[in-house]
Amino acid sequence: MKRPPFWRNIRVIRVALQILAVAVVVGAFLYLGNNLRNELVEKGLPTDFSFLSQPTGVTIADSDFDPGSPVWRALLVGIKNTFLLVIVGIPFLTILGTLIGVARLSTNWLVAKAAMVYVETLRNIPPLLIILFVFNAVILQLPPPRDPATPLDWFVISNLKIMGPWLASSNGVGAFLIIFLVAVVVAVVVGIWRTRYSEQTGAHSHRVVWSLGVFAVIVLLGYFLTGRPVSISIPVLDGRVITGGFGGLGAYFAVLIALVMYTASHVAEIVRGSIQAVPKGQTEAANAIALSGFQRLRYVILPQAFRIALPPIINQYLNFAKNTSLAIAIGFAEITLVTFQAIGNGYPAPQLILLLMGAYLLFSLTISLLVNILNRRLQLVGN
């Protein structure tokens, strides 16, 4: 078979096209990058990342940040704050979203309608608006920090900071932690043992009671044996300083509440859709073996629905992480605001924005990776 001439040879064309595509893209990058460098030099701005080690010059709220610290440390504080939003928000929004999604399908007309109103209202409003509303109409309505509310003497609530009781540790906590871990392992072992026992003999396993019981006994023994190393720390007002306890800035809670409510409304729709996507045959089969409504939901419907819902829910987690950038509007020092401050104080914008994008990419990819591991384990074999 004669080979076609090289300009009609499909393999040559393919390679040529790819080389062309890469050349165009690389060429564009080089051209723009060169422009960028020239413009920066012309304006007397640094073209590399050395500015990161210069002093920031500003303080950051609710942290021990010192204005003399380098810029890169400020960026890390910003990342830490974003992280705090993401790590607390995702579990809450999942739970809230699932509850509302299930409620939407409730046979109780009032409950179903209430859930529908919640979803349809919040889903169609910009998240920024919700954040502003929660901040202005809820958080700022709390008492000012010079005269905070202290309900039950256990909380200190002001529109600046909301603090509650937390655990505090003292000597011997290391040993206690080891005993704690041991207790967890033993409890799991006991649970497995009781399950196997129940499978063999047919008697009730009571495995939850057994596991928890063993766990509680070991932990309590350990607590007293190590000299009570853990106590409750209550936030105490000393003039304007609050010692002890645990909590966060009012702005943090505003962003958290607003974005959890907003993202939960999307998750609720996903959960509802996925429950409805479970084949009706499953419901009928569950009814045929006389499972109650709750049992049917818990053992048959939800596990299958969850498998369907997980990929779109991952998307909502990513949206949540990205929407935390809106906190810039109410002054919460997450990574976007810190970057913005740095740009405003004369540090070069192109490099800072590149770093900012990199930070969010890191969050996005980490969340995707972690949840995808879960997703893969849930996949049906052979799918």
């Binding site: 096209l17 893209v25 009032l110 202005n136 809106l326």
Partner: protein, 391 residues
Amino acid sequence: MKKNLFSNWYNSVLTVVFGALILWVLYALVKYLIGIDTEIIRVNLRLYMAGRFPSEQLERLWGAIYVATATVAFFARATVRNAQTKATEAGLDFERSSWTDVVQRFWPIGALILFTLSFTETITPTLLTLVAAAIGLAAYWLGGMMPMWLIRRSWIILVVGLVGFYAVLVAFGGVGWDLWQGFFVNIVITVAGISLAFPLGLMLALGRRSTLPAVRVLSVTYIEFLRGVPMITLLLMGAFALGFLIPGDFQFSLFLRLLIAITLFQSAYIAEVVRGGLQSVPKGQVEAAQSVGLSPWKTMRLVVLPQALRNVIPAMVGQFISLFKDTTLVFIVGLLDLLRAVQISTAQPEFFAQGLEAVVLPFAALYFWVGSYVMSRESRRLEKKLGVGVR
């Protein structure tokens, strides 16, 4: 339906609890609505809708609205006639939506317009709105006289409308787009953003499915990169960094830079939407096209894309809604959209420190809500009609 409220003790408890909650919310709502002072809205309505549009050029704004209304009406009529013609040619039944049907679909928008007009201080805006309605109806009726060649290429109407819209606003010493503000700019950015991003997104989706590994890698990198960062970072890039990429003293205006940033951002999401559509076309279609001897390009153009794009209309509407809500983010670069205008008004000396945020924020929310709700209802209706997802 209502019999389930008290069917067993569990339901009864839920009903009582939720009922009490709802009553409490309604009570607070009514008390709030009676007590509020809408003076701030009345005074600032023009700021909310059009920002600081020069008052002596407002005729241009109304002119642009008329052009837009006429374009939409013409296009709607063309689409209806197009479908009608194709249906009769194929021998199928064609059912036109009645006027009552249209009203039922879009009544929230009408209600919102009336709501807005209730805050105006003179009769002029109401009269001008009636003129707009008249123009819309006239255009729809005139659309019946359009020639067939135009109807088959109804996108021409959109292009002409777009050019006319821009010309009315800008030509002969008009109002450049840096002064397009308020709710007007929210709408303009949404429409412009999606329109510009669509061709780019389409190319990226095709690139992602390409058999050429280099092209695929480049497309995937672009798409995953832009989907992993928040839109605010793109806007910051547009405002602060894009200017450095252009050599010399020539500069794009802020509005254009933002539009570029938003287009790049949206194109990645549209690429994913289109990719879903391309995947939904059964392989059998491609094989059938090949067996008839169509080239790869012809297959794509005549067989795959029409089906793919039709399947993704609901998802595209979803993306439209998402961009519509995200246009509020332009506050960060100083562009005055509805949400920012509303915030600024609470800081004006006459309205400062009176807790009016609780009045104006829900007001602004209403506009976004109506737009998003109507569009999502349309998208669900289209999903049902097109049978997307039903095999």
